[in-house]
Symmetry: C2
């Protein structure tokens, strides 16, 4: 029996290899988007969906395949080149014009396709990411008819079917497939190329603008950190006598705040340049954007496009927001606040007892463990509440939905991350402890977090593979294993025959469940924003903070890249014009930094040391005046620097000018043609 | 001799009447824009300009007329209906579409003129204000050729000739003429209609969007003042015991700040609605706008439109701005600050001496007179410096030029208007004196200012007429007076023959020099913004401030209207999308209001009365925390209210959608026509 089990494990490890191979080798020109069902989905469900796909979105080509061991069905979907081009027109994807038509990016139009550079090359014109977005868009366009139902699930007229089935777990996932050639290039030029700048354009091409924007931001932020890093190291080396330390404390506070402002302004400009280059700066009006698939509302005629669509009155959303969301979030934050404060108090009390020798030393760790546990639990609960509230608010656009969710999550993370530091800095007013705490945070939170991000998914993935293999080994008789085996190894041979869907129908699944789903960029951003907070808010107390952040980020860039390329499913490319709400969050952080740094100077005892005769009211008043002056300077600085570089503004104006004149030119051409036509007729 | 003089004066008064008649009776369909030269301009200059006008802007019809008594020549300019329509296309004036084409406003296009409602009616389709803007635009388009010169004045290639001549005083004025019928209607429905709401649409039609926007703002602000007025009266009536007064002080401080925020947000929305209605919400890109005529720079190809135009590098402007403007303005403000403070100190010193009986009482007024004189002198000097600096900064757009100038002037007015109050409130910390001072300011500054605004121009006008008459009477022999007289009274007869320029050439001037030039809306706005400052900054000390402001504004609306209709030349209509920089100035005022009100609560001695045990540091800290919380609330409030009402956003999106689809539709129509054509050919 032992040998049998051993053999089964060997099989499993082979499966592991083959699934990994599979994940990468499915040729992109054959399948753009994969839709999978849970195991044991009934055939009728499959047929129901398949029929609707074939009838209502005939432009999508569906190949059904089955993995008999896991019982998972998959729809492999793609579309013809012509239909993809039409989709590119619908999605207004920007493509370069041929040089004889003036060059530059322009929204792709199917009618004028011959004006676009490279349109003849079916394989290269649209990137794999663009193809996937188009197919995804087509699939989401499969809408229910009146009174339609699947089992107990009833659809409203016009509701998108696939996203709804996905939210009800009738479809387990819809995701695009990785492309192994592109991945290999990215691996060489990006993941493992520590010494080179990031190939942002390739990242954008493969993962879409949103993810490329995140990595651009990460790179920009890391480079910007060089300045406070160098200054921090200098001040750290030179520290010694009290006078110099006081001076460096104030200097660092002021420099930090100004650095944050300049960094954010510079990033805004860089982001505008990138968005222009990637064709997303000039966004559609919000009312013209497609709503989130899960957006609910009454069916009305869209006042803009005259198509029927859902509408949800703003007052309902606002009512919910101000009467439910705001109080609930406030109470939640209050609970977190109180729980954390109580544990801090407990810690102080126990520390005092330990110091007095009345209880053993190890009890000191009890509150720490309590804190870690309670934060973990509270975080889970809070996240559930936040998601639920956000769903109830029923935002029309993906973008506003995400913004609103991020604001909720940021509030929690802010309390969670900074409360202990505020407690030490302003309640205990213990600067050296603040420094120790910051150092500890940077070492644990940042480095451990980084390792976790890379290795945890790796282990989870291994574990899942192991589970699949074990389950398979347990459920199947030796004979079936052999058959299964044949099936598992077949695909490598079938690659040649991949074009005949019927032949390949019963294979070619495997890996798609094994990679983790990528939950969008916001967790990565959150980490960076909190880190940005540590650096700007408290680094006057701990000048090496920027250095720690800098080292962390150099690793972070590559580990995030590695994670995205090899441990997660490929995400759908999203088109964004900026990093959105994160810019605002960081700007808010910049303002808080001014207040906190001034308060730190106030509590640090520097003023009494420098000017012992000053009364405490005068000291406070002086610091307040300085705070207001710095805020004013910050404001003037932010306004004096244009958000969009001049050359981008010029390019935008050009585009606008072209669009405005194009219509006039076109109209006169039309009239000329008409005149010729009538002349010719007579 | 006495009788002779008397007779001459009688003549003069007749002239007055006739000039007034003239001002109004020149028919608009005959003359849109009047261009006048200084007396004794040489004929060669006239011919030089006339020739260039006729050759280079043939669309402008010029009638030359001469007023022999004053020696003033005038060019009366208009254009044919067809050319006006072409100009409306160039200026992208928004006009309503016929209902069969979907209705709504659209930029006028000459090719599709038949799609616009009322285009058949030559007299009514374009308003007199639009005609004038178009003719003005045509005149400004008269550009110099290479090496051209007039006397000593040399032109650069492409420089607009008329504005340059105007700035060199070779042309004295270019201005549109009033229309007496429209003015009469406006007088009935607006100037004298105290009981009705302002006819904003008619104002917009007659004076253009910019002036209509000012009056809309003024009306909106006045109505908004009702709330603090009522609250102020209530608190004023109920005042009595110290406890209630303290309560009402704090209440009024908080309410004021919140009221200011809500008022500004509401105005932003109202302004967006009006701008939408008047077709200016959707503005052209800045780079597509025409530069100011006086903008200088190197001739380059415009990167956007590919036409040659001037360019002035931004770094040059910024260099000047940061190295010259900022320090100069700072020094100027410092001088004003120091001078005022010194006079305040002197006042205190003299007051003390008078109180001690050591010098006579009337000397108390000496510092007051000094203050008034020095402010007057400083104001004049500062204005000259500000204008000079602003001209040197050489802004490309009228809009940015004005914004930059206003910021400079606001800074001075802020110091000038509020320093004495700050001095009393925070240096002397005398609340009852602050109240007296505020009351005095409202009575003198507001009411006297109002009277001045109406009666001063009236007297200046009378005086000028008198001067003209006197000069005429003095210079001319009795015989020439009679001849002159004949000429002066002729025009009334000539009205019928107005169409024959040669016949009417030697008459029809007269009044055009006598009305004051309207120097744009900024003086009126300045007054309102300073008043808004008094109300929001200090009215917790003087609750009746809002009442005073309210009464003042009710008069202000009508007196401004009167001034504009009857004492000033008609200004060219300007198209703006909002009140521009004034919104920002008032928002800055709103933030300052929070700080000042918190500081007032701090210095008023309320906290020690309510909580006598609180230490002064704790009091300050508490107030600071409250200040920050209020600022946060204000910020959240301003962000939670959308700046553009939903229906306007929808309409804008519709327009955008139409523009985006129109091109596609047009292209396919063109291709269909082309296909038909080729079919037909074969």
């Amino acid at each position: 029996a032992y040998r049998m089990l051993d053999k089964r494990f060997t099989n499993t490890s082979r499966l592991m290899v083959s699934s990994k191979v599979w994940q990468k080798t499915i040729p992109t020109n054959n399948c753009d988007v994969l839709l999978t069902f849970p195991a044991k989905t009934e055939d009728s469900t499959l047929m129901w969906l398949l029929a609707r796909l074939k009838w209502r979105v005939p432009e999508v080509v569906v190949n059904v395949r089955h993995h008999s061991s896991s019982g998972i069905y998959g729809f492999y979907m793609t579309a013809s080149y012509e239909n993809l081009l039409k989709g590119a027109d619908d999605l207004a994807i920007q493509k370069p014009l041929k040089s004889e038509y003036g060059g530059g990016l322009k929204e792709f139009t199917f009618e004028d396709q011959e004006c676009f550079a490279g349109v003849e090359d079916e394989k290269m014109f649209l990137t794999s990411q663009e193809r996937q977005s188009i197919v995804h868009y087509m699939i989401n366009n499969l809408r229910a008819e009146e009174g339609e139902e699947l089992g107990k699930l009833k659809f409203l007229e016009g509701q998108p079917i696939v996203p709804l089935l996905e939210s009800k777990n009738i479809i387990s996932q819809v995701f695009p497939l990785h492309n192994s050639t592109d991945l290999e290039t990215l691996n060489k030029t990006w993941v493992q190329a520590f010494d080179k700048t990031q190939p942002l354009d390739s990242i954008c091409e493969y993962f879409g603008v949103k993810i490329a924007m995140y990595f651009a931001y990460l790179g920009h932020y890391t480079i910007s950190l060089v300045f406070p890093t160098v200054l921090g190291i200098l001040l750290w080396i030179l520290q010694g006598n009290q006078g110099f330390d006081d001076f460096s404390f104030v200097l660092f506070a002021v420099v930090n705040v100004m650095w944050a402002t300049l960094f954010l302004e510079h990033w805004k400009r860089t982001s505008a340049e990138l968005a222009y280059k990637w064709g997303t700066l000039d966004k559609k009006d919000e009312l013209l954007e497609d709503p989130r698939p899960l957006f609910k509302g009454d069916l009305v005629k869209n006042p803009v496009t005259d198509q029927t669509c859902f509408e949800y009155p703003a007052w309902k959303r606002n009512l919910f927001r101000y009467l439910v969301t705001v109080p609930v979030i406030f109470i939640c934050l209050l609970v977190v606040f109180v729980v954390m404060l109580l544990i801090f108090q407990l810690q102080e009390w126990i520390n005092a007892l330990v110091l007095a020798g009345r209880i053993p030393g190890f009890i000191k760790f009890l509150p720490k463990i309590m804190l870690a546990l309670s934060i973990g639990v509270l975080d889970d609960i809070y996240k559930k509440i936040a998601y639920w509230l956000n769903d109830q608010e029923n935002y029309r656009l993906e973008n506003t939905y995400e913004t609103s969710l991020i604001i909720k999550l940021v509030l929690f993370q802010f309390v969670n991350s900074f409360l202990s530091l505020f407690y030490i800095a302003f309640y205990l007013q213990d600067m050296s402890r603040l420094r120790d705490q910051l150092a500890a945070i940077f070492i644990t939170r940042q480095i451990v977090g980084n390792l976790k991000e890379v290795f945890m998914p790796y282990f989870i993935w291994k574990f899942r593979l192991f589970k699949v293999g074990y389950k398979m080994a347990g459920e199947m008789s030796p004979g079936s294993i052999a058959r299964e085996f044949k099936e598992m190894t077949e695909p490598t041979k079938e690659k040649v025959e991949a074009d005949s869907p019927l032949l390949a129908q019963k294979s070619r699944t495997g890996g798609f469940k094994l990679l983790l789903q990528y939950t969008d960029t916001w967790e990565d951003y959150m980490e960076m924003v909190i880190q940005f907070g540590y650096v700007t808010l408290f680094s006057s107390a701990f000048p090496l903070a920027a250095l720690c952040a800098f080292i962390n980020n150099i690793i972070e860039i590559r580990s995030d890249a590695f994670k995205l390329c090899f441990h997660h499913q490929r995400p759908f490319g999203k088109r964004v014009g900026s990093i959105g709400i994160w810019q605002d969050v960081m700007e808010a952080m910049g303002i808080i930094a001014v207040i906190v740094n001034c308060a730190l100077v106030g509590t640090s005892g520097i003023v009494p040391r420098v000017a012992p005769d000053m009364s405490s009211s005068t000291t406070i008043l002086m610091i307040i005046v300085i705070e207001h002056v710095i805020l004013l300077l910050k404001f003037i600085l932010a306004n004096a620097i244009p958000d969009v570089p001049e050359w981008v503004a010029t390019e935008k104006a050009k585009l606008e000018f072209k669009r405005r004149t194009a219509l006039k030119v076109c109209l006169s051409l039309f009239f000329v043609a008409l005149a010729d036509f009538s002349k010719c007729k007579n």
